[in-house]
């Protein structure tokens, strides 16, 4: 049953686009002139390529999402997206429209000491689970205001887990001379 869904999703855009095209062609041929004031030509409706591209893109996104539980590379790709560790910003940006609300088991730890080689945290100021994008614990306004107000360097240990796979990241934030903060990826691990 589950294997039929990808097939359905591949065929669905073809069906929906042909149906939309059929609807339009019917409306052009048979649409009563009395209901369409001042239509001078039955070819007035132009081909809606924007619609076709959108429908195809949406089905592509749906297939990507539905494949994630069974294709570890997709899950890893999305977890790396959550940790801001995608290979390039452009590759990360392309994924951003893909809806990821409340995805994965994401945990965050904020430490005032360097975690050891097992990523076990020491000096943990804050520990918790988060809905998505665990990096927001230091990029989002509330995170910055909460964790960076004392001016001391901080380590952020982030974990995302999904169906036996996981991504771990350790970020270090240091106060810079100009008053800002420098973000460094100290360690990154994927399993």
């Amino acid at each position: 049953m589950w294997s039929a869904f990808p097939l359905l999703l591949v065929c669905a855009p073809l069906v929906s686009m042909s149906r939309a095209s059929t609807d339009l062609s019917i409306s052009v041929r048979e649409y009563p002139l009395s209901h369409c004031p001042a239509v001078e030509s039955p070819t007035a409706v132009s081909t809606d390529w924007f619609f076709r591209i959108l429908v195809t893109s949406l089905f592509a996104v749906a297939i990507w999402l539905l494949a994630m539980p069974w294709v570890p590379a997709i899950a890893q790709c999305t977890m790396h997206r959550f940790h801001l560790r995608t290979g390039s910003f452009a590759a990360w940006a392309v994924q951003q429209p893909i809806p990821p609300m409340y995805s994965f088991a994401n945990t965050t730890e904020v430490c005032d000491q360097l975690p050891d080689h097992t990523l076990s945290s020491r000096g943990v100021d804050h520990r918790g689970m988060i809905n998505h994008f665990p990096t927001r614990v230091f990029t989002w306004a509330s995170g910055r205001a909460t964790h960076l107000r004392d001016g001391a360097s901080k380590w952020f240990v982030l974990r995302s887990a999904y169906r036996g796979h996981g991504v771990d990241s350790v970020y270090r934030l240091d106060r810079s001379r100009d008053g800002g903060w420098t973000v460094s990826l100290v360690e990154g691990d994927a399993s």
Binding site: P37, A38, L54, Q96, M101, F104, G128, R144, L173, W181
Partner: protein, 281 residues
């Protein structure tokens, strides 16, 4: 020809694509109403957390982060501020204007601003800008077809596209929860049930002990997974009005039962859901 024209109500000297035709049709069409509904949802979503965003703007300006991952201009508080204000203004203009060309330009501008907010260091994680972006895409599309497509076909296509987008959004939320930590209720327990200050969870903590609370969290979590999964898979196939009702109920209940602030994410989706209500048959 003469029989075909019998009963024809012809606006004087009106031709396809002429300003007179586009303005007359645009003013009264269902597609026009659908667009305004979605724009309303987008504006509500954008302004729902206005006070929070104003405070965030101050934090971003006073606590800047330098991160090699983001382009420099997408780390600056000023670019985010400009994008936010541009989006709010341009959506408002698109709502009020009658001129199709001005509306398309306004939506193009607000869509660009929305893309900036989707990618900015200070806002990439907020799903407000993800749902806003998808609504922008829908709004931009329909704005290119109003005045071009026959209205009775256009508003059906619009409703279909909205259902498809909503299905994908729900699917995106569902698939990420197909994991043991959500099925056991652990994640929702930690995020909401343990200590979130919201009327639902405050009452539950008052009435039940920790063990029962954990069981309720598991039931709550499984309910969310099932609802999002089923709706994500079938919403796009449903009759338009049923899909409209289902979407409004699902998205409203998420915010009402977990977090008022989520209306910033969900108001655009509620507007997009209501698009289907205009399809009468």
């Amino acid at each position: 020809m003469s029989s075909a024209n019998a009963g024809l109500r012809i606006a004087p000297a009106v031709q396809i694509g002429s300003p007179a035709m586009t303005e007359v049709n645009a003013a009264s069409s269902d597609a026009e109403r659908q667009l305004r509904l979605v724009l309303s949802g987008m504006l509500i979503g954008l302004l729902w957390k206005l006070s929070y965003f104003a405070g965030a703007d101050h934090v971003y300006a006073s606590v800047p982060l330098q991160d090699n991952f983001f382009p420099v201009w997408l780390q600056q508080a000023a670019s985010l501020r400009l994008a936010y204000l541009t989006a709010a203004l341009a959506i408002s203009i698109a709502w009020f204007v009658r001129s199709l060309a001005v509306r398309r330009a306004a939506l193009l501008l607000s869509g660009s601003a929305s893309t900036v907010m989707l990618l900015h260091q200070g806002s990439y994680n907020d799903m407000t800008f993800t749902t806003l972006w998808w609504c922008h895409v829908w709004a931009l599309w329909i704005s290119t077809r109003i005045g071009t497509d026959p209205d009775d076909r256009l508003h059906r296509k619009a409703a279909f596209l909205s259902r498809l987008m909503l299905s994908v959004v729900l699917l995106g939320g569902a698939v990420g929860k197909w994991t043991g930590e959500y099925w056991s209720g652990e994640v929702f327990y930690e995020i909401y049930f343990r200590d979130r200050d919201f009327w639902v969870f405050n009452l539950l903590r008052l009435w039940f002990d920790a063990e029962t609370l954990a069981w309720i969290a598991m039931a709550y979590s499984r309910k969310v997974i099932l609802v999002e999964t089923i709706a994500g898979l079938v919403l796009w196939l449903m009759p338009p009005r049923w899909a409209a009702l289902t979407g409004v109920v699902i998205f409203s209940s998420i915010a009402l039962l977990s977090n008022w602030l989520l209306f910033s994410v969900l108001a655009p989706l509620i507007g997009l859901s209501l698009v289907g209500w205009y399809v009468r048959r």
